[in-house]
Symmetry: C2
Subunit: 416 residues, 2 copies
């Protein structure tokens, strides 16, 4: 059972937005046992949309389409599908009610452009969209299923979860796809590959191993598909266990989670609390942590201290430390971490101070210089890093390094 995803919109082709929908959809489809063969992004151009539809149906059974369903003139997905399937547009009363209901709830007046959202190709199955005015449309044509959804992420997500996936599961006898991911840190992918070479070579044909490196971490992913869920899991898990035994000192998690989630899980299981004191990462570490449900069990909060004044007032960094050593120094970052530990009363505190760039570098402290400190009851340790000259990447890499350092210190405390 193969699916393809087609995302429609000029904004994708000119790089104005990042297509996050496709990854989310692909993940959900995989969990249901549907493999995604290709993801294609095309512009709001009728001829090209038709070309993409024709190509996709040759490769896949289900074609999921997002985007191009807005009420404005640049959006042409609906009229293109109407012509493609030879189904003229007709106003759908139920859809009109849904659209009217949305405007009533928002207490907004309605205009003809909004009413036109209720025009749908006659003969398609309309799936009501509770979160927006663009209806979801399900077409069947010569054995292939085409579903057109709005591109607004939360509207698409709701429709996929509540409507599309349940219908696909009911309709097809789906195979089981199983992925097992091992998250490792502090080892490069080629070293990892060398360490596990014999195990990799011994994998049966049906199990695929992938290396996914990212910011000081490498994910190892074992994948297999089949009809017997239990057998599949047993077999894949068997090899996963062998791999994890071999590289145990680098394993951070035995599931596909982020580094910060692995840290949260570990700290929660030890009933440890954490606070943050961020300068150059500007709240990014706090954000990474707090995007996870339940993070409040571990994370108490923190400070984003961009200015000297806030480093002193909120974290208690001594003015003379800042004056003598500068904000980006071992001395300052240690005081930041110890200040957070004492004032926010947590078991661990992590502090980051660096030059994210593009300005602010000096010959001694070039852009990309980042000091990170971790404090706990057993003291404070600091390390300096030299990243590159891209601000957004320096922020990401600093955050990953900081999380890695906390993880190492928590593990160390545990070992004692």
């Amino acid at each position: 059972m193969l699916a393809e995803i087609i995302t429609i919109g000029d904004e994708i082709l000119i790089g104005q937005i990042v297509d996050t929908n496709s990854a989310w959809m692909a993940k959900q489809l995989n969990l249901c046992g549907i493999k995604v063969k290709q993801i294609t992004s095309v512009s709001d151009d009728a001829e090209h949309i038709v070309e993409a539809l024709n190509a996709a149906r040759k490769r896949a059974n289900v074609i999921l389409i997002t985007g191009g369903l807005g009420p404005t003139k640049d959006d042409i997905t609906k009229i293109t599908l109407s012509r493609y399937f030879n189904m003229p547009l007709k106003r759908d009363e139920e859809t009109l009610k849904t659209v009217e209901g949305i405007f009533a709830r928002l207490n907004r007046p309605m205009i003809e452009l909004n009413r036109k959202q209720a025009d749908v190709p006659e003969g398609c199955t309309v799936i009501q969209n509770k979160n927006g005015t663009a209806p979801c449309m399900w077409f069947e044509d010569q054995g292939a299923i085409f579903v057109s959804m709005p591109g607004v992420p939360f509207e698409m997500m709701y429709l996929m979860e509540e409507e599309i996936l349940p219908r696909l599961k009911e309709r097809f006898q789906l195979p089981f796809i199983y992925h097992k991911t091992i998250l490792t840190a502090n080892i490069g992918e080629s070293f990892l590959a060398t360490l596990i070479e014999d195990l990799e070579n011994s994998l049966p044909e049906s199990i695929k191993l992938a290396y996914l490196p990212n910011l000081g971490q490498v994910r190892l992913r074992l994948s297999a598909s089949g009809s017997d869920e239990q057998q599949l899991k047993t077999e894949v898990d068997h090899y996963a266990t062998l791999l994890m035994e071999r590289i145990s000192q680098y394993v951070v998690a035995d599931e596909d989670i982020t580094l910060e989630k692995a840290l949260l899980n570990l700290m929660e299981s030890r009933q440890l609390t954490l606070s943050t004191a961020e300068s150059c990462t500007g709240g990014y570490i706090a954000h990474l942590i707090t995007q996870h449900p339940g993070s409040s069990k571990v994370y108490e909060g923190g400070a984003v201290t961009y200015s000297y004044a806030l480093k002193e007032a909120v974290l208690g960094v001594k003015p003379e430390t800042l004056q003598n050593f500068g904000a980006v120094s071992e001395e300052t970052v240690k005081e930041m971490a110890l200040g957070a530990l004492a004032r926010f009363k947590t078991d661990f505190a992590v502090a980051v101070s660096g030059i994210a760039g593009p300005d602010g570098g000096t010959p001694e402290k070039p852009v990309g210089t980042v000091w990170i400190a971790v404090a706990s009851a057993s003291g404070v340790t600091a390390k300096v890093f030299l990243f590159g000259n891209r601000r957004v990447q320096n922020i990401s890499r600093s955050a990953a390094a900081a999380l890695n350092m906390v993880l190492a210190q928590v593990k160390l405390a545990e070992a004692k």
Copy 2:
């Protein structure tokens, strides 16, 4: 001049990573006058890669390929290209030196897998990758150009900026593509469309108007391409000015920037400073702001106060306020904003307290309830929002609403 982007990697097709490379590449190509016709993501499968290459060369002159160049077995892009162009792999001495140099710099031992990175299809142009071990390869075949780059974002970005784009610009007489974006806030796209309907209808064929809605904002984008840069700009800017005059009260910026960047620009021009006090957004507002170079001119810092204790200790929220009204209340969020204003000594302070979910909701305060307050010398105002039940989206929507509120208050102060 048309380009296509092909991203290769199972991790994309199973939704393990979001393809952010394509949007970045598309943006850079557009700035050089190269339109992107299609973006295609395929798995690490030789046959499918070849199919994608064949399809792309029919539509475009330049095909940019990322991914699948790692040293491990799952990566097959290089060997597939070697076969596709009928160019056997051969060890390249210069590439080997680059790879050795990288290992020397990192002070890491090298293994045969790493040396194999220096094997390249004989006859292609190798472009040295200073940031990683996977070389960039440039192929020319029957009038089409194919460039294979590593998928690691900063390696790809460096290669695109320093090598690929300059070569394409030198090689081709590129047309000029001009986009003009107007950022609006606090108005829906259909109302915007009605307000500007006559202007939209009067646009010449050569100028395209797109509506890009996102989190309480709508971007209007005018696009045109041609050979006379000056004439193009004059014409597009003329219509942009007409549009902005018509909808002036909703215009936040006359360029393609984010809401927080528009706010930073406005505040910097007024020499105003800002601090944040975040609970449910957990540092996300601080992160949005601080990812922009120069944000320190406006942003002093802030607090992420997840726990009651930190709300009291860092922001001075009264224990009885928390006890009587709860953390998610008008009273608490106002005290948070006023506390940040006084303690962080800024001209404006914004505070957010809400229930991001998935847990923590009650019948009176369901998940998605978010209080936001903005404080300044002229007082404090607060508003309550009811977003949905998805944590990550509640965080984004809360941040957008908070930035919108600050923007409105700064504009109000300005008007006085």
